[in-house]
Amino acid sequence: MKYLPLLWRNLMRRKIRTTFTFLSITVAFFLFGLLMAIRTGFGVGIELAGQRRLLTVHKMSMIQPLPFRYLAQIQGTPGVRFVTHMTWFGGVYQDPKNFFANMAVDPEGILRIYPEFVVDGDDRERWVNTRTGALIGRKLAARFGWKLGDRIPIQPTFFRPKDGKPDTFEFEVVGIYRGATPDIDETQLFFHYKYLMERTGDPGTVGWYAVEVEDPARADEVAHAIDRQFANSPAETKTATEKAFMQSFANQIGDTGAILTAIAAIVFFVILLIAGNTMAQAVRERTSELGVLKTVGFTDLTVMALVLGEAVLLACSAGVVGLALVTLAVPALAKAVETFLPIFYVPGRSLALGLGLAVLLGLASGGVPAYLAQRLSIVEALRKR
């Protein structure tokens, strides 16, 4: 701590240069935070999904329906603890741009298989018992200003009512769920599958099945057992862990994690050059002062530590400001991107990683100048004025 005034005064020696370098590093860490938030948005489903749940879909395509009768057969498969079904509805609210996930489900089944959707007691009862009820996520409610008791018209995009009534499904908001952790998607709407069947006629099909296995270690074995039952049938199935499905889905738009990591790496490399240049210039300019420090008794290692400390102080202070700014900005940005990225936040571990990177950036940018300062001959240094 006693060297802090010296480090600070040295940084402030060239205010404009230090300010530009500081801002460059701040922007880099702001970008890093944003990239981590985007990465979280793309990857969180994959990380959370785990091996406990399987998804059974049509072998040809996920959008092909599966017979409803498969439910009982899957439930009877050894190793299966519970199964429920889900059907993509694809409705929109008022305008096609108001996109959000909405699905027809078994009201009790969805709560059992997705315990991470937290629904309060009264809401839970209303949801299960209200045929035209909708269970919506907290963020979805906030997005459209919906509250319990509201009646919301949803326009279907490919389901058509059989009763000739207006081409709109009207749901009553009977429950609002929240995620057990910040990673849970709170932008979905669920409604009763039976109500969908009433309005459209019962084709005897569902979209896909969500299966809970008894032993995650035997998930693959159970998946094969399920698929074997429907082999050579008109609707063959493909069963895999939820995690595998999420990963496969994410891979359709490229390896986002790798792309984002590459962008972050490029940004940091450029910043390393900028900060390194700043430190190299700073040391070159005060060669004789470093000689004076050594003359009065500072050891080579202490001088090296001072140069490194200066670089780390600059990188860390700018990094902390960048991370603080992105932490403040992301909640506001989350509202703007929630249609595409329902989960959008900077995880704590990313902030910790950011701090670690700030220290590394400081050490890397100050490494060579510090080494040169450590090697500096006193006599040579004192000759330079």
Partner: protein
């Protein structure tokens, strides 16, 4: 065994610049007693500053031995030399060599940062040094806010704040006008006389050398003449 504070025995110093070999010191012998005030004179390139650097542990001879208070500096590691300088030697430079980003007090405090003193103790030492050089009211001034003479006084305060045995001055008045130079020399002489600091001063200025108790002349890397002041 001699009771000299500084003993320089058969010291050679050779620099190589590319293929060129420059013999800066050629078998130099010197003893400086405790409490002495020695002036080293000679033309540029005669090896005065090189000798001062060797005695201050800033550089090592190519061969020979340099010892201060019985300690052989030629055998010490760079780290040991740094610790030794911090405790036993004060340096005064021609161009003051103050850090421009630090106030006078912070500049003087630099050597004390290497000690285990508390902040309050360091400030007490700094205040005493400032008082001694007559700049108690300039503690918060930056070097660019001080005159040349005041800067040199700060440089001297930094050199003595650790209460060193040996004070090495390299052209301490070389950048000052006659009157200011006289004041600085008075101060150095007082440090020698009243506080018993052993002073070795390199100078071109005969008037400055007159303040010393002994004057030695160097030329081409050797002592060529000695006279008592």
């Amino acid at each position: 065994m001699s009771d000299a504070l500084v003993q320089v025995s058969d010291v050679h110093k050779v620099y190589t610049r590319g293929a060129e070999r420059v013999d800066v010191l050629k078998g130099l012998e010197l003893e400086v007693g405790r409490g002495e005030f020695l002036a080293l004179m000679g033309p540029s390139g005669s090896g005065k500053t090189t000798l001062l650097n060797l005695i201050g542990g800033l550089d090592k001879p190519t061969s020979g031995r340099v010892a201060v208070a019985g300690r052989d500096l030629t055998r010490a590691s760079p780290r040991e030399l740094a610790h030794w300088r911090a405790r036993h030697v004060g340096f005064v430079f021609q161009f003051y060599n103050l850090l421009p980003v630090l106030t006078a007090a912070r500049n003087i405090e630099l050597p004390l940062l290497l000690t285990g003193l508390s902040r309050a103790e360091r400030q007490k030492h700094v205040a005493a040094a400032l008082e001694l050089v007559g700049l108690a009211d300039r503690a918060g001034h930056y070097p660019m806010q001080l005159s040349g003479g005041q800067e040199q006084r700060v440089g001297i305060a930094r050199a003595i704040v650790n209460d060193p045995t040996l004070l090495l001055c390299d052209e301490p008045t070389g950048d000052l006008d006659r009157q200011t130079a006289g004041e600085i020399l008075d101060l150095i002489a007082e440090l020698n006389r009243r506080y018993e600091k052993t002073v070795i001063m390199v100078t071109h200025d005969p008037l400055a050398a007159e303040r010393a108790r002994r004057v030695l002349h160097m030329d081409k890397g050797m002592l060529v003449e000695a006279q008592a002041a």
